[in-house]
C-alpha cells in the first residue's frame, strides 16, 4: 500500500503529494502518457500528411488504383481505419494497463467503502 491515509473519516483530506510521488501512481502516469502522447503525435502527423498531400499533391492523389477509386480516396478511407484502430488499441491498453492500477489507487484513497 502506498497510501498511508486509510482513515474512513471523510474529514481528513488525503495526502495528494505523497500519493503523486508514490511508485504506483508514477507507474500509472507513465503508462498513460507513454501511450497517449506518442499516439497523439502519430495520428496528427498521419492526418497532416493526408491534408498536405490533398492540398499540394493533386496528381499523386488522383492516380486511379481500382476502377474509379484513386489514391486520395484510399488515403481518406485509411484515415477512418486508423481512427478506429487507435480507438480499439487505446481501449485495450486502458483496460489492461491503466484501469487496474487506477482502481487500486482510488480504492486506497477512498477507503474500502465500496
Amino acid at each position: 500500500m502506498s497510501s498511508t491515509d486509510q482513515e474512513p473519516t471523510p474529514t481528513t483530506a488525503p495526502d495528494w503529494a505523497t500519493i503523486q510521488n508514490s511508485a504506483e501512481f508514477r507507474q500509472l502516469r507513465k503508462r498513460l502518457r507513454g501511450f497517449v502522447f506518442p499516439m497523439t503525435v502519430a495520428f496528427l502527423v498521419w492526418y497532416l500528411l493526408y491534408v498536405l498531400l490533398s492540398a499540394y499533391a493533386h496528381d499523386f492523389m488522383s492516380t486511379k488504383v481500382v476502377g474509379n477509386i484513386n489514391i486520395g480516396l484510399i488515403f481518406g478511407l485509411l484515415q477512418f481505419v486508423s481512427t478506429f484502430l487507435i480507438t480499439s488499441l487505446y481501449v485495450r491498453h486502458a483496460n489492461r494497463h491503466l484501469d487496474p492500477v487506477a482502481d487500486k489507487i482510488r480504492a486506497d484513497i477512498e477507503g474500502d467503502d465500496k
Binding site: A17, T40, Y47, A55, M61
Partner: protein, 535 residues
C-alpha cells in the same frame, strides 16, 4: 418557377406532419424525464446517470449537426473530393477527445469546463474567462444551426418569403426552449438519442439504396457521379475542387483542417456531455461509441454525396433552393418519392432542434454555474434550486437570442459559421484545457492569456478576413476592409494561443503544485470524482 424540379413533388403537409410527430413523441419523453429532474446535478448533468453507450449515441446526436448531414453530403455532391475532407477532420478530431481529454475531464469537474480550469487556479477570473469563451463558441454554433433552419424551410416546406421563414425559425426555437427548460440535461439527452438513431438509420437506408442501384460497387457510384457531371466530371474525384485554386486557398484549407481536428475537444457542448455519465470509464465508453457511430455516418455521407451527384446531378442541386444543402433531401426524393423526402426533412429539422437544444443547455449551465453561482454569489449559493432557476431563465434568454440571431443570419453560409465555431474552440479552449490537465507549472495568468488571447486573435482575424468582407461570398458585400488573406484563422490563432498560455504562465510567479498534485491524482484515478445520483 418557385422551386427546382426535384422538389416539386414535395408535400409540405406531409413534411410538417412527420416533424410534428417527432416533436410530440420527444416532448412526451422530455416531460417524463422532467419528473425526476430537480437538483442542479439533474439539470446540468442528468444526475451523471446515463450509461456509456447512451451517452455515446447522444454525443453523435449533438455532433452530427445540419452542417454534417446536409452540408457534407452537398459539398461532396457539388465539389467532390474536397467535401470528403471535412468529414475526415471531424472524425479524426475525436481521438484527441478520447486520448487526452474525456476521462481526465470527467474526473476533475462537475458540470462545466470552468470547473476543470478553476480546479487549481483563482476561481473568479478563470471561471469568467471560461464562461466568455463557452458563450462565444455556443453563439457562433447556434447562429450556424438557426441560419441553416431558415434555408431548410425554404427547401422543404416551400416557404420562400422571409417572414414565413422567420416564423418557422421562431417556432423551432420555441420548441427547443421547452425541451431545455423542462427536460434539463436528461430531457435534452433523450432528444439527442432519438434524433441520432433516426439520423443514422435514415442515412444508412439511403446509403444501401444508392449502393443497391449501383450493384453494391462504390466505384460505380463514383463513376455515375462523374458521368452525370459531364465534362467537369473527372474533377469530382480529385482533390482541389474547392480549395485548389491558388496558394492562398491551399493554405486556407490547411488552416481549416487544423481547426477541425483541434476544435472538437474544445467544444463546450461536447465537453459537457462527459459529465452525464457516472465514471471516467463510462466517459471513455461514450467516446468509443461516438467514434464508431460518427465514423459510420461519415462513410454513409460519402455514398450520399456521390449518390446525389450521380442520381440527381450537381447542376440540379446547385440550382435548387438551399443550394448544396439540398443534396440529401433531393436524393431522398429521387429514391423514395414524397414519403422518403418527408422523413428526411423531418430528420433534418430534428437534427437542428436537438443540436440547438444541446448548445443552449451548455451555455445556460455555464452562465448559471460559473458566472452566477461562483462569481456573482462567490460559491455561496446554498439553494441549488435558485441556481437551476437562473439556468432555466438563462436558457430562455439564449433561446430568444438564438431565434433573433437565426432570423438575421438566415442565408449566411452555414459551413463558414460552423468552421468559425471550431476555430474559436480550438484557439480559446483546447490549449487551456490541455495545459491545465498536463502541465504542472500552468497558472491563472496562463489560462487567462490563452483564453482571452486565443479568442481575440481568432475573432479579429475573422473580422478582417475575406469571408467577412471583400471575398467571394462575404458577410457584408459592397465594402472591403479585409487585410488577413485567409478565411480560416486557425493556422495563426491556435499556435498563438498555445504560445500566449506558455508566456502568461512563466511570466507569473503563481505556483500551485499542491493543488496540481491533487488534480493529477484525481484526474488519473477518479478518486473523489462526482458520483451518479440515484433516483
Amino acid at each position: 418557377m418557385n422551386l427546382a424540379q426535384g422538389i416539386e413533388g414535395s408535400n409540405p403537409a406531409l413534411n410538417i406532419g412527420i416533424f410534428t410527430l417527432f416533436v410530440v413523441i420527444t416532448l412526451v419523453i422530455v416531460f417524463r424525464a422532467s419528473r425526476s429532474s430537480r437538483t442542479a446535478a439533474d439539470y446540468y448533468a442528468a444526475g451523471h446517470a446515463f450509461t456509456g453507450p447512451q451517452n455515446g449515441i447522444a454525443i453523435s446526436g449533438d455532433y452530427l449537426s445540419a452542417a454534417s448531414f446536409l452540408g457534407i453530403a452537398g459539398a461532396i455532391a457539388v465539389a467532390g473530393y474536397d467535401g470528403f475532407l471535412y468529414s475526415i477532420g471531424f472524425l479524426v478530431a475525436w481521438l484527441i477527445a478520447l486520448l487526452l481529454v474525456a476521462e481526465l475531464l470527467r474526473n476533475t469537474g462537475k458540470y462545466t469546463m470552468g470547473d476543470v480550469l478553476s480546479f487549481r487556479m483563482r476561481q473568479r477570473p478563470v471561471r469568467a474567462a471560461a464562461a466568455v469563451s463557452t458563450l462565444a463558441v455556443s453563439f457562433f454554433y447556434l447562429l450556424a444551426q438557426m441560419a441553416g433552419a431558415g434555408g431548410l424551410v425554404a427547401l422543404l416546406l416551400g416557404i420562400e418569403n422571409r417572414a414565413g421563414q422567420s416564423l418557422v425559425i421562431a417556432v423551432v426555437g420555441a420548441i427547443m426552449i421547452v425541451y431545455v427548460i423542462i427536460g434539463g440535461m436528461r430531457g435534452t439527452t433523450w432528444v439527442q438519442i432519438i434524433k441520432a438513431t433516426l439520423l443514422i438509420i435514415g442515412a444508412g437506408v439511403i446509403t444501401l439504396w444508392v449502393l443497391g442501384k449501383f450493384g453494391f460497387n462504390l466505384s460505380s457510384v463514383l463513376g455515375g457521379a462523374v458521368e452525370r457531371a459531364g465534362d467537369a466530371g473527372s474533377r469530382l474525384l480529385e482533390p482541389g475542387g474547392r480549395y485548389g485554386a491558388s496558394e492562398t486557398t491551399k493554405i486556407d484549407f490547411v488552416s481549416l483542417s487544423l481547426a477541425l481536428v483541434l476544435g472538437t475537444a474544445g467544444l463546450p457542448h461536447v465537453l459537457m456531455r462527459f459529465y452525464t455519465v457516472p465514471t471516467a470509464k463510462d466517459a471513455r465508453r461514450s467516446v468509443v461509441w461516438a467514434i464508431w457511430l460518427i465514423g459510420l455516418f461519415y462513410l454513409f455521407s460519402l455514398v450520399l454525396g456521390y449518390g446525389a451527384g450521380a442520381l440527381v446531378g450537381a447542376d440540379v442541386i446547385a440550382a435548387a433552393p438551399g443550394g448544396e444543402n439540398s443534396a440529401a433531401p433531393l436524393l431522398a426524393f429521387e429514391l423514395g418519392g414524397t414519403v422518403l423526402l418527408g422523413i428526411i426533412a423531418a430528420v433534418a429539422f430534428a437534427t437542428i432542434l436537438a443540436v440547438v437544444a444541446g448548445l443552449t443547455i451548455t451555455a445556460s449551465a455555464s452562465f448559471a454555474h460559473d458566472v452566477y453561482a461562483n462569481i456573482i454569489k462567490k460559491g455561496t449559493v446554498d439553494d441549488k434550486e435558485q441556481e437551476v432557476k437562473v439556468a432555466r431563465r438563462t436558457a430562455l434568454v439564449i433561446g430568444a437570442v438564438a431565434i433573433v440571431g437565426g432570423i438575421f443570419a438566415n442565408g449566411q453560409n452555414i459551413a463558414f459559421l460552423v468552421a468559425l465555431a471550431f476555430a474559436v474552440a480550438a484557439s480559446a479552449n483546447l490549449p487551456t484545457i490541455l495545459y491545465s490537465l498536463f502541465w504542472k507549472r500552468f497558472n491563472t495568468s496562463g489560462a487567462l492569456w490563452s483564453i482571452y488571447g486565443g479568442l481575440s486573435v481568432c475573432i479579429i482575424l475573422i473580422i478582417f478576413s475575406p469571408a467577412v468582407s471583400g471575398g467571394a461570398n462575404p458577410m457584408f458585400s459592397g465594402v472591403d476592409f479585409h487585410w488577413f488573406p485567409l478565411s480560416n484563422p486557425g493556422i495563426v490563432s491556435i499556435p498563438v494561443s498555445f504560445l500566449l498560455g506558455y508566456l502568461g504562465t512563466i511570466l507569473s510567479k503563481e505556483r500551485n503544485e499542491a493543488k496540481f498534485a491533487e488534480m493529477e491524482v484525481r484526474s488519473l484515478t477518479g478518486a473523489h470524482a462526482e458520483k451518479a445520483t440515484s433516483h
